[in-house]
Symmetry: C2
Subunit: 385 residues, 2 copies
């Protein structure tokens, strides 16, 4: 169970390993399985929080690394904490900052106590330890904080992964012992690469500690997708049943569905907003690249099946032809509309999954949806064809 | 009077040379004096048309040059005309494209029949004539089209200005004779630089033609601001009383107020959105440069007096500290919020001017507002000081 006051987690329906649940937080309830849009430095890129609130999102993720470096955790705290700062009234989760230190920072040196690095923004020397991560997250004031972990790359060898597991376990204990903000939950992180035995061994260590939830880290970091799916199917349902299960940094529509079917409750990824800024829209028939010439005179919406305001709003849909024009001209509105569409789409996908679980047809929902989406280019004639 | 069916213009109040009026168009009424946000290529940069609709704006300007080159007038027509294409249901005005040919295009050669140039986007050879401008504007389907004129630079000598006036008069007749879209009004343009006698002479020629409205072109093109204000005070009230008077490409809060007091009804400028993208916000106490370090911990709104959704919305104000952070990080949301604020601010300024005219205190409103705005940096302590 979740031991931090103000939190609770109640499974409301089950279908195979998949489940729906209600996660209560000090900033409101979240229905799971859920996709958390990423609000990197206090903004889900391109969107207002009012817009995020029109999607399925009940919880947003903030990046500790980014906010710590700019504008600084003390500034965020002075301006109302992450909730007040970013104007998001509902639940918020922060990561530990570790993943970005490994992927963005320069001149990284790691030891058993923590990691020293230079900021990718101004080169300033910084040091991140388990205690510092928890301290920064407490200043940010998220509802859910994450432990600092060591996340080995997707091609790391077994020995390196085992070393990362050991360090992650030690750091997890230190994070538990560090003073947190009042009413701030803490999730542990399981490493182990794509090795099922390592995953289960590390899960045993992490699940034994009084974390409010347990996450799978170190997936979707370059390993083959089938390997990730295999690990999810083997491990997710063995994670504690009475606490939220969170798959970090995932992902694509396919990965969300496979993860939820395997028993995962929470996901996050920059994919919907990043893809939108690159001209890619998610649809129930696959990805649409808005740049393509075939959209030039297309007066249909991004996705005729989508019920979001971009495709089906009161003010009239945004046509593919118009969005293509805006995108090619570099207009802000293109990124805005397509970001909102993509976040809305992933929310719809999860809402559909929750309904399917409640109705005992989760596997069929995943199969049918994946057949339509095909994880590639849109299938079929143009939207107005 | 306005001779095109579907249009009417009725003065509703007067105060000195200033007046309020109701301009009826096929896409709804516009209260004047009014500021028209510029929707360059079918988008008011950074904003949705729903957002533009929450400001005072009842009419938006589209740039013929930009739309003609990209995506092309035929594409705009196929996607519903400029109204359907851009999702703006209310009145729309298009310029002739001439001003952008002079300011943006390369390898310009001009003759009595028109102007040949290369596109600044792809170098394509194009030719703009009075007839072609009207044809393109009819494809775009704006409510109000503008004649093609020759706009000499602010430092042009008297002889060059007189030649531009003659050519502009000839082109004005040709635009009147060219076939327009059904229910599309046409405005003439008065040149004459900062020479009052030339302005009045050219005004006489243009006002004698059956245009639906008369515009002042060739101002705010580099001449000293006091000269522009002198010309406005001498000329605006001599423009036809029974038709809209439009001051093109203006401008700053000060220029809008001086123009409206002199009898101008319509204005347009990219200033609110362009300044926003550069970090400048318009306020009742002067310009705010959001980059400044003094805003770092400021939890006040851009303008405590502003009633717009950015400063005073239901979802909570955007603080200066948050906007500064977003702007320094290059986040889209900074440009969005500050663009909406600036367009809202200019709308409020005009709404205030209309109220002042109705109440016979137009001159006092202008004086008081200009004292506060000071056309410079914000005056007084920080917003939360």
């Amino acid at each position: 169970m979740m031991s931090t006051p103000g939190f609770s987690f109640d499974v409301t329906a089950r279908d195979g390993h998949a489940r729906t649940a209600l996660l209560q937080t000090p900033h409101g309830p979240v229905e799971t399985p859920t996709f958390m849009p990423v609000g990197t430095i206090g903004t889900v890129k391109g969107l207002t929080m009012e817009e995020v609130g029109t999607t399925d999102a009940g919880i947003v993720l903030g990046n500790t690394y980014h906010l710590w470096l700019r504008p600084g955790a003390e500034v965020v705290q002075a301006l109302g904490g992450l909730h007040g700062f970013s104007r998001w009234p509902r639940a918020m989760l922060t990561d530990s900052g570790g993943f970005q230190v490994f992927s963005l920072a320069k001149l990284r040196t790691m030891d058993d106590d923590g990691v020293t690095f230079r900021s990718h923004i101004d080169g300033a020397l910084k040091r991140l330890t388990p205690e510092e991560s928890v301290r920064v997250q407490s200043l940010l004031g998220s509802d859910i904080a994450m432990v600092l972990d060591e996340c080995p790359p997707g091609d790391a060898d077994r020995a390196a992964i085992e070393r990362a597991m050991e360090r992650t376990t030690k750091w997890a204990r230190r994070c538990l012992d560090a003073p947190r903000g009042p009413g701030q939950a803490l999730f542990g992180i399981v490493q182990g690469g794509i090795h099922e035995d390592l995953r289960l061994r590390h899960l045993e260590s992490i699940a034994a500690m009084p974390f409010d939830g347990v996450a799978l880290g170190g997936l979707s970091v370059g390993e083959p997708v089938p390997d990730m799916h295999r690990v999810l199917r083997a491990v997710a349902h063995q994670m504690p049943d009475d606490r939220p299960r969170y798959l970090m940094g995932v992902g694509t529509p396919r990965d969300l569905l496979v993860g939820a079917l395997a028993g995962v409750d929470m996901f996050d990824c920059v994919l919907p907003t990043r893809n939108a800024r690159n001209g890619q829209c998610l649809t129930w028939r696959g990805r649409v690249n808005i740049k393509q010439a075939r959209h030039r005179l297309d007066d249909g919406p991004i996705d005729p099946r989508c019920e979001g305001q971009c495709c089906n709003g009161a003010g009239g849909r945004y046509t593919r032809g118009y969005l293509r024009h805006l995108f090619l001209a570099g207009e802000i509105l293109a990124a805005r509309v397509m970001s909102l569409h993509n976040v809305y789409f992933l929310g719809s996908l999860m809402r559909g999954m929750r309904a399917a679980i409640r109705e005992g047809r989760a596997a069929a929902y995943v199969d049918d949806t994946l057949r339509g989406i095909a994880e590639g280019d849109e299938v079929g004639p143009p939207s107005n064809g």
